[in-house]
C-alpha cells in the first residue's frame, strides 16, 4: 500500500548539511509529516549548524536552539507555555543527535518522558559526536572506529539500546525509522503527532564523513541496515506492544552493511561473526517481543 508523503517543503535548500547527510533527509521528511504547526527544538548537534547561522534559517517553522543537554527540558517548557496560552494543537518536536540523547541529554529526556510531556522527541542517530569531529558516543556500535575509539582500540561496548530505555518509561509511543523507508518514517511521525503524551522516534542517520562512506550510498546503507537487521524498524506502544513495521525482503548478512563503511574496515572475520551473532540474537529477541 503506498502512502502519500505531503508535497509541501518545510526544509529549504541552502542548509549546511554534508552531501548524503541522513539528518537532513530525515528532517525534510519529518517536517513534511508534521506540517507547519510545529515548533522545533534543536540542542547542540549537527543540526545546530545545518539550520543555518544568524541571520538565516533553513526551516520554515519556528526553531529554538538550545543547550546540549536540554532537548527534553526545553521542549517541556515550550509545550507548557503553549498550553497555558490556549494552544493545544502546535506540535513541539525536539530534534537531537545521539550525543544529546544517549549521553549528555539522557537525564532531561528521561525526565521529560517520565512525566509524559506531550511532545515528539526525535533522535537522528549518526552514531557518534559528529558535530565535534567524530568522537564516540554510547550510540556508537561495537567495533566502530571513531577518533576516540581508534583502530587499535575500537568501541568495545555495545550500542546503548535507547528504544528499550524509552519503552521502559512506558511512554505512549516509541519507534525506529530511517531514510531508506520514507513512507514508514512519515507514517510514524504522523502517528506520533496524533498521540498525546511522550513520543520517541529513533532515526538511523548515515553520516558520510563519520562513517567513512560514499555520500551517494546514504540511502543504500540505510536500507542495508534494515535488511541486515542491524537496525530493525519497529514501534513500541506503552512499553508493552512491539510491532515490526518493515520486514526485510531478503536475507542480508551484516557484512554487506559493514563493508561499505570505512569505520568498520579494520574488523577481522571474527569481529564480523561476533557482530552477526549479536544482530541475530537481537532480531530473535525483537521477534519474541513482537509476538512473532
Amino acid at each position: 500500500m503506498s502512502y502519500a508523503i505531503p508535497d509541501e517543503e518545510l526544509l529549504l535548500s541552502g542548509h549546511l548539511a554534508c552531501p548524503g547527510c541522513g539528518g537532513s533527509l530525515s528532517m525534510r521528511l519529518a517536517l513534511k509529516a508534521l506540517g507547519e504547526k510545529t515548533i522545533l527544538v534543536i540542542p547542540a548537534c549537527c543540526w545546530s549548524i545545518i539550520a543555518g547561522a544568524f541571520p538565516y534559517s533553513s526551516v520554515k517553522v519556528p526553531l529554538m536552539h538550545t543547550a546540549f543537554e536540554t532537548g527534553g527540558s526545553a521542549a517541556a517548557g515550550i509545550k507548557a507555555a503553549l498550553e497555558v496560552q490556549g494552544d493545544t494543537e502546535t506540535t513541539v518536536l525536539t530534534w537531537a543527535g545521539d550525543g544529546g540523547t544517549f549521553d549528555i541529554g539522557l537525564q532531561a529526556l528521561s525526565g521529560a518522558v517520565e512525566r509524559n510531556e506531550d511532545f515528539i522527541y526525535a533522535c537522528y542517530d549518526n552514531e557518534a559526536y559528529m558535530n565535534t569531529g567524530i568522537q564516540r558516543s554510547s550510540a556508537t556500535p561495537w567495533g566502530a572506529w571513531t577518533t576516540t575509539t581508534p583502530v587499535r582500540h575500537p568501541k568495545e561496548r555495545p550500542k546503548k539500546d535507547i528504544v528499550a530505555i524509552m519503552a521502559a518509561h512506558r511512554i505512549p509511543y516509541t519507534a525506529t525509522a530511517t531514510i531508506a523507508y520514507p513512507e514508514d518514517l512519515v507514517r510514524k511521525f504522523q502517528k506520533a503527532k496524533g498521540i498525546r503524551g511522550a513520543k520517541f522516534i529513533h532515526i538511523l542517520s548515515p553520516c558520510p564523513p563519520g562513517w567513512k562512506m560514499e555520500p551517494a550510498y546514504s540511502i543504500r546503507i540505510s536500507r542495508l541496515a534494515v535488511e541486515s537487521k542491524v537496525f530493525p524498524l519497529y514501534e513500541v506502544e506503552t512499553g508493552e506492544k512491539w510491532t515490526i513495521t518493515v520486514w526485510p525482503k531478503r536475507e542480508v548478512p551484516v557484512r554487506e552493511y559493514l563493508k561499505l563503511q570505512g569505520r568498520f574496515s579494520h574488523l577481522t572475520e571474527e569481529d564480523i561473526e561476533f557482530i552477526q551473532e549479536n544482530v541475530d540474537r537481537q532480531w530473535e529477541r525483537l521477534g519474541a517481543r513482537a509476538g512473532q
Binding site: E36, K37, T38, I39, V41, S48, I49, A51, G52, A53, F54, P55, Y56, S57, V59, K60, V61, P62, L63, M64, H65, T66, A67, E69, T70, G72, S73, A74, A75, A76, G77, I78, K79, A80, A81, L82, E83, V84, Q85, T90, Q107, A108, S110, G111, E114, R115, E117
Partner: protein
C-alpha cells in the same frame, strides 16, 4: 490583607500575584516551601499556571527558557547547589534576552554540606547577565517578585531576587499581601515582542559568527545600564500603587556619617539597630543598604558615600583569591569617582554563622579605631585566625 508568613511563602504569593504562567522547579532546602505553596495555590484553582516538576535545576532553567521563548511568564526558585547547576543556563537566559524571574535562597555552597545562609551562591553568578536584588524583609521579598517581572519584561533580561536562607526564608514576618487587582494594574500580562509562533516562524539562538556576536553583547550591557532607571521607575510606580518602595540602595542616617557601614539582605536589619545604638553614644555612623546588585548602582553608591570618611563593607560571601564581593564592587565603583575613602572589607557569617548586633558593633568600632584597613580582608569571628 495582612498575614504572618515565612519568606518562602512571600515568594509564592509574589509569583501567584504576578500571574506566573509556567513554573518549573526542583526542590532544594531551604527553597522547598516556595514551590509547595505554589502547588497548593494551583491545586485550589487560585493559580492558572503549568507546573513542570523537572528532574533537576538545570532542566528547570531550560524549561523556563523554553516557556519564556514561547511567550509565557516563567518563574523558578532555587538555592546554592541548584543555582550552581543552572549556571550554563543562566548565561543562556540572559543571552536569549528572556524576562525569567527566579527567587534564590542564599545558601552556602558545599562541600561541606551547609543549608545555612551565605551570599556566595548568587554572587558567583554576577557575570551571567541576570539582574540581582537582595531583600531584607519578607515584605520586600514579595514586592520584589512583582517588581522583578515588571523590570525584566521591560529590559528583556532575566532577574533574580535573593533572600537569606532561614533568616528570611523560614522566618515568619507580617506581610501585606496586595490585592490582585492592584498587581494587575501595576503588572499587565506578558506580551512578548518575539516568540516561538508557527504563525510567524523565526529561529532563535542560532550560531552567531564574530561579525555579529559582539553587538549582541553590547546590547545586553546597554539593557543593563537602562535597567538602573527602569528599576528606579518600577520602584517609584510601586510606591504610587502600593504605598511602599525600597530604592536601588537605601541611605540610613548618612547625613553627617563619618563611617558608613555597607550591608545587604538581613544583615541590614541588624545593622540598623546597631547604627541607632551607636548614634545614641555619639558615633557619627550611618548605613548604606545595597539592594540592587546587578546592574551595580554605581551612581547611587558614589553619591551615598560622597561624604564618608571611611566605609566598612560587610560581606557574607567571599570570592576566593580576592575578597568580599560587595567590597570589591564598591571599591570598583568608587575608583574612577572623585571621592575615594578607605574601604574596610569585612567578611563574616559564612555558612550561616550568626551575625549579631555585637558582631556589627565590633565591625563599626574597628573601623572607627583604624585610619586604614590593616589588611585586604578583615575576617570576623573566625576561630584561630
Amino acid at each position: 490583607m495582612e498575614k504572618v508568613i515565612m519568606g518562602n511563602h512571600a515568594v509564592s504569593y509574589g509569583a501567584k500575584l504576578a500571574r506566573a504562567q509556567v513554573i518549573a522547579a526542583y526542590p532544594i532546602t531551604p527553597q522547598t516551601q516556595i514551590v509547595e505553596m505554589l502547588s497548593e495555590f494551583w491545586a485550589e484553582g487560585l493559580l492558572d499556571a503549568k507546573f513542570i516538576k523537572v528532574e533537576s535545576e538545570h532542566s528547570a532553567m531550560a524549561a523556563c527558557i523554553g516557556a519564556s521563548s514561547a511567550g509565557a511568564r516563567a518563574f523558578t526558585a532555587t538555592s546554592s547547589q541548584g543555582l550552581a547547576l543552572m549556571h550554563e543556563m543562566l548565561h543562556w537566559a540572559a543571552g536569549a534576552r528572556l524576562p525569567i524571574v527566579m527567587a534564590n535562597v542564599n545558601r552556602a555552597m558545599g562541600p561541606g554540606w551547609s543549608i545555612w545562609t551565605e551570599q556566595t551562591d548568587s554572587l558567583a553568578q554576577r557575570d551571567t547577565g541576570w539582574l540581582q536584588f537582595y531583600c531584607e524583609s519578607n515584605q520586600e521579598v514579595l514586592d520584589s517578585v512583582i517588581q522583578a517581572f515588571k523590570i525584566a519584561e521591560q529590559v528583556l533580561l532575566p532577574t533574580m531576587l535573593v533572600l537569606d536562607a532561614f533568616v528570611l526564608s523560614h522566618t515568619q514576618e507580617p506581610v501585606d499581601i496586595p490585592d490582585q487587582e492592584l498587581v494587575d494594574r501595576y503588572l499587565p500580562p506578558y506580551d512578548a515582542r518575539y516568540k516561538l509562533d508557527p504563525g510567524d516562524p523565526h529561529a532563535f539562538g542560532a550560531m552567531v559568527a564574530p561579525p555579529h556576536y559582539m553587538e549582541l553583547r553590547y546590547k545586553i550591557q546597554k539593557a543593563m545600564e537602562e535597567a538602573v532607571e527602569v528599576a528606579r521607575q518600577a520602584d517609584g510606580e510601586f510606591r504610587e500603587i502600593f504605598g511602599r518602595s525600597y530604592g536601588l540602595v537605601e541611605k540610613y542616617r548618612l547625613e553627617d556619617a563619618e563611617v558608613v557601614l555597607v550591608a545587604s539582605a538581613t544583615i541590614t536589619s541588624t545593622a540598623r539597630v546597631v547604627v541607632d545604638e551607636l548614634r545614641e553614644e555619639g558615633y557619627k555612623v550611618g548605613l548604606l543598604k545595597v539592594r540592587m546588585f546587578r546592574p551595580f548602582p554605581t551612581k547611587d553608591v558614589r553619591e551615598a558615600l560622597a561624604g564618608a570618611r571611611k566605609v566598612a563593607v560587610i560581606d557574607r560571601n567571599i570570592s576566593f583569591g580576592h575578597g568580599g564581593i560587595f567590597a570589591e564592587e564598591i571599591k570598583s565603583a568608587l575608583y574612577n569617582g572623585s571621592h575615594r575613602p578607605p574601604i574596610f572589607g569585612f567578611i563574616i557569617g559564612l555558612g550561616g554563622r550568626d551575625v549579631t548586633p555585637a558582631s556589627i558593633r565590633g565591625i563599626a568600632e574597628y573601623t572607627f579605631e583604624h585610619d586604614t584597613p590593616e589588611m585586604e580582608i578583615i575576617w570576623r569571628e573566625v576561630k584561630n585566625s
